[in-house]
């Protein structure tokens, strides 16, 4: 992520950080109240479970409190907390994924474009009948998009969330997941391809029911 200049620090965040460093107990509560919403949204996107997300948010705030001396004064508090909650959520996701496999999620290959041996597509892709602007304007479509993102198989979905929603760059995503940048790019591309296919079907975007 970017490294904002000191001027990007909001006055509220600046006073919160000063309060935390001086040991003001009210500063911690102010930090929690100011940032719990966005952090919870991030945790929910990654974990897709309210209880797990709340646990991750709590752990993130406590980690932040314990490691306050590592917070650089020129960074944004929200950016720093975002990084911490993503780390916590990914740790929980890894444990969960290794403990069970979601039987409802089909393999990614089923959603990727298929080609003949000569490199020709097996499908004649058609123009979508509705554009992104119109789709985003409909609440029900936004809900379908969010639900469809959840159908992208792991580990592709997590990369999609980190790169295209949380807006982390390739290098940071690779570092957080402990994989190579090239692997991040491959997973992101496959996730987008799978989602394109799923959305086309879910939203009937080519007029084919």
């Amino acid at each position: 992520m970017d490294t904002p200049s000191p001027s990007s620090q909001t006055p509220d965040d600046a006073s919160i950080v000063a309060g935390l460093r001086s040991g003001d107990p009210r500063a911690f509560e102010a930090m929690v109240r100011a940032h719990v919403g966005p952090l919870r949204a991030v945790a929910l996107r990654l974990l897709r479970n309210e209880e797990d997300a709340d646990d991750a948010v709590q752990e993130a705030f406590l980690n932040a409190y314990r490691s306050l001396d590592r917070f650089r004064g020129d960074a944004r508090l929200g950016t720093w907390l975002h990084r911490i909650v993503v780390n916590v959520a990914l740790g929980r996701l890894r444990k969960r994924e290794s403990a069970k496999r979601d039987g409802e999620q089909v393999q990614i290959d089923a959603h990727l474009p298929q080609f003949h041996e000569n490199g020709m597509s097996q499908r004649f892709h058609q123009r979508w009948t509705v554009g992104a602007d119109e789709l985003v304007s409909r609440a029900e479509t936004r809900e379908v998009v969010r639900n469809t993102i959840d159908k992208v198989p792991e580990p592709y979905r997590t990369v999609l969330v980190l790169r295209d929603i949380e807006e982390l760059d390739t290098a940071e995503t690779a570092e957080l997941l402990g994989i190579k940048p090239g692997t991040v790019k491959v997973r992101l591309h496959r996730a987008r391809q799978a989602l394109r296919n799923l959305l086309e079907r879910e939203l009937e975007l080519t007029g084919e029911a």
Binding site: G37, P113, F115, G119, S121, F124, V136, R146, I149, L195
Partner: protein, 119 residues
């Protein structure tokens, strides 16, 4: 022939190429267009590859439509994800979508007090 009548490996009639004999349009196959799509959108293809990509897409409607849908997918993910964030932020401030997570805030503050007590 309509777009629904996609031939099975016979080529794209609208491209004007006989794919039965020559599978590449301007040096790239449809499969390669699919593989290079993200690099193209990230502007990380070199000039030669970028030109080949654009020449292919310019004469191959299926690849053009696939590219447009891919771009719309990225746009939908980015913008719908933000919408979710907005809703969650409103939830915290009690504007709608249920009560703010006061219980969560209290749990976090209690856990922090427990840490302070151990220090």
């Amino acid at each position: 022939m309509s777009e629904h009548d996609h031939p099975k490996g016979d080529g794209h009639p609208s491209c004007g190429h006989d794919y039965g004999l020559k599978m590449k349009v301007h040096g790239l196959t449809c499969q390669e267009i699919s593989q290079f799509m993200m690099d193209y959108l990230d502007s990380s293809l070199d000039d030669g590859a970028k030109d080949e990509f654009e020449r292919h897409v310019g004469v191959c409607p299926p690849c053009l439509h696939y590219l447009d849908g891919y771009k719309d997918t990225v746009e939908l993910v980015r913008r719908c994800g933000k919408v979710e964030l907005d809703a969650e932020a409103k939830k915290v401030h009690g504007e709608k979508h249920g009560p703010p997570p006061e219980g969560l805030i209290m749990a976090i503050l209690a856990a922090k007090q427990a840490i302070d007590g151990q220090a």
